[in-house]
């Protein structure tokens, strides 16, 4: 990471920050759906906590994107909310894994395991970004990601090595989502430009460590790493599953019903 950010197209950084914000807001939304529906009250609190962490990350990424947008356009009125509330399904660029439905508690646990371990490794690298704001966000978010990882690991062990029902549910969940994990490690043209400029993380380099760590946890939980023979991708290009449209409909409806209103 050596080149200067001067040579970089600002729009690329805006898009990149917005993508990271999209990942965070979408998974935060899914986690928040658990509040009042958790298996016991301690988990309502814990899932709410993790949802709040992701919401916080989304706000930091979007605010960065908004500030850069204002600089670029000579405006002052673009905010985090423009990114969350006023973009459509085709404009959202989150990874598909994040948007899949809420599912049961095993599904949520399996998904969080894959995402949290990814985030931990991703944020360690983002800390080194030449974009000082992104680096600072990563420092803050990495602390939370470590806690998220520990939590997901604990739950994977409990469910995988709990009862035969919980074991079966965990295995089914992993099988159901595994094919969505591959796109976490893709880098498209936009990200490659930013990787070259020392701003974005080269996700292709994260796969080996991620797989090693996730495999160890899955195996300790007496579960099996699913077959590698299917892969779905397209989130970063706005090519989404049908889940995202409904999520955005719900999330954006009040905001869009009152154009220009303050809340």
């Amino acid at each position: 990471m050596t080149s200067s950010t001067e040579t970089v197209n600002k729009q690329d950084i805006i898009d990149y920050a917005a993508r990271l914000g999209d990942d965070a807001i979408v998974i935060g939304h899914r986690l928040s759906e658990w509040v009042s529906r958790a298996p016991f009250v301690e988990e309502d609190v814990a899932l709410g906590n993790v949802a709040l962490d992701f919401l916080g990350h989304a706000r930091m990424y979007y605010t960065h994107a908004a500030e850069l947008s204002n600089e670029q356009n000579g405006t002052t009125d673009i905010t985090e909310d423009n990114f969350a509330y006023l973009r459509d399904e085709r404009q959202f660029q989150n990874h598909l894994l994040h948007e899949l439905h809420k599912g049961d508690f095993a599904y949520t646990t399996a998904r969080q395991l894959l995402i949290d371990v990814f985030n931990k490794h991703f944020l360690e690298q983002l800390k080194k970004s030449n974009d000082k704001t992104l680096a600072a966000i990563a420092v803050k978010a990495a602390k939370e990601a470590k806690y998220h990882c520990r939590r997901s690991q604990d739950w994977t062990l409990r469910l995988g090595d709990g009862t035969s029902e919980s074991h079966e549910r965990m295995q089914l969940a992993l099988n159901d989502i595994w094919g969505y994990s591959h796109e976490l490690f893709e880098v498209d043209a936009l990200e490659q430009r930013l990787v070259d400029a020392g701003i974005a993380v080269d996700c292709t380099l994260l796969k080996a460590d991620w797989l090693k760590e996730v495999t160890a946890i899955i195996e300790e939980a007496t579960l099996m790493v699913p077959d590698q023979d299917w892969a779905v991708s397209g989130g970063r290009q706005g090519y989404h599953t049908e889940h995202l449209g409904h999520l955005l409909t719900e999330m954006q409806f009040v905001h869009r019903s009152f154009p220009g209103a303050k809340w």
Partner: protein, 322 residues
């Protein structure tokens, strides 16, 4: 109970003396069975209210109109879960398990605050609920900081700190709406209209009608009467409504110079009893939602204890082998 070496009447007299001299009753102290039962009823009802109260607001987390408001609402609802937990633990000090309390909630044997049987229909309701419902709860809970049972009193002190943030976030929502577009202001007025009277009902029936009041006052479980607490709330809310520039829903409200308080219109007690007795919009939904989450979580709780057992067993095996 030879341990105490005193007759029931003597025990009760010294208990009452402690209560009268403002000493806290602690879990290990002797207490009349009816005091214990009364406390379990009230504290578990309070705990259940925190838990069921997550639903109407939880219903809006995914739809909050800005990221800032979403963050605040989510942490507010999460606080309520924490209050529920805290109050369940405090109730358990009276010798009853959380699982029994939850079973009583789900069977309808235990109550929760009837206000949560009202539906949260608009974003404005997030404002009205935080401001008025948490506001009314605070008036009650501030009074309960002096309740005679130690764990309950200490719980209230801790909970009240967070409740003022809850009321504040509700009022902030109302302020934004009230100074916003005409449609937003209309939304605020509509929410105020729907939640004002039910908030007054939260204090319970008039003192003359209240089933549990006399004994609870003597034992200092309750410190102020329903009507006195309600009056405080009515009086504190008048300037808050005026500041928002909204219309007061009580058309009969007048300032009574002599009493130094507001005289207000009569509450619709038929509505109060109708909703308590199951005719609210959401009574069935609230319990079914709770039961569904609880049942869907059963396999998770089972897995957790199975895992814990295996872990303990492995440790034992390892130690025996060593």
């Amino acid at each position: 109970m030879t341990k105490y070496n005193k007759s029931e009447a003597e025990l009760e007299a010294s208990f009452q003396q402690r209560v009268d001299s403002e000493q806290k009753i602690e879990p290990k102290d002797w207490m009349p069975e009816a005091y214990r039962k009364n406390l379990i009823r009230q504290m578990s009802q309070h705990a259940h209210s925190e838990i069921i109260g997550m639903q109407p607001e939880g219903n809006w987390i995914t739809r909050a109109p800005s990221l800032r408001r979403k963050t605040v609402l989510l942490s507010k609802v999460q606080d309520e879960a924490g209050h529920g937990l805290y109050l369940y633990s405090a109730t358990e000090t009276l010798g009853i398990e959380r699982s029994e309390l939850i079973a009583a909630l789900q069977s309808g044997k235990a109550k929760y605050a009837s206000i949560f049987n009202y539906p949260a229909q608009t974003w404005g309701d997030m404002g009205a609920i935080g401001w008025l419902v948490d506001g009314a709860a605070i008036v009650n809970q501030v009074s309960l900081q002096r309740t005679s049972y130690g764990p309950y009193a200490r719980g209230m002190i801790r909970i009240c700190k967070e409740e003022s943030f809850h009321q504040r976030q509700g009022y902030v929502i109302m302020m934004e709406l009230a100074k916003g577009t005409p449609a937003q202001k209309q939304m605020a007025q509509d929410s105020l209209n729907r939640f004002y009277w039910p908030s007054l009902m939260m204090f319970g029936p008039h003192d003359s009608e209240s089933a549990h009041s006399a004994k609870s006052m003597k034992w200092k479980i309750k410190r102020e009467t329903n009507d006195d607490l309600r009056q405080k709330f009515i009086d504190q809310t008048v300037p808050q409504i005026a500041y928002l520039g909204l219309e007061h829903p009580d058309k009969d409200l007048v300032w009574n110079e002599e009493k130094g308080q507001h005289d207000s219109g009569e509450i619709d007690w038929d509505e109060f009893y109708a909703v308590i007795n199951g005719n609210g919009h959401s009574n069935r939904q609230r319990i079914q939602h709770h039961v569904k989450a609880h049942e869907e979580g059963a396999w998770v709780r089972d897995a957790m204890s199975a895992y814990q057992q295996k872990k303990t067993q492995r440790k034992v095996n390892a130690e025996t082998a060593a």
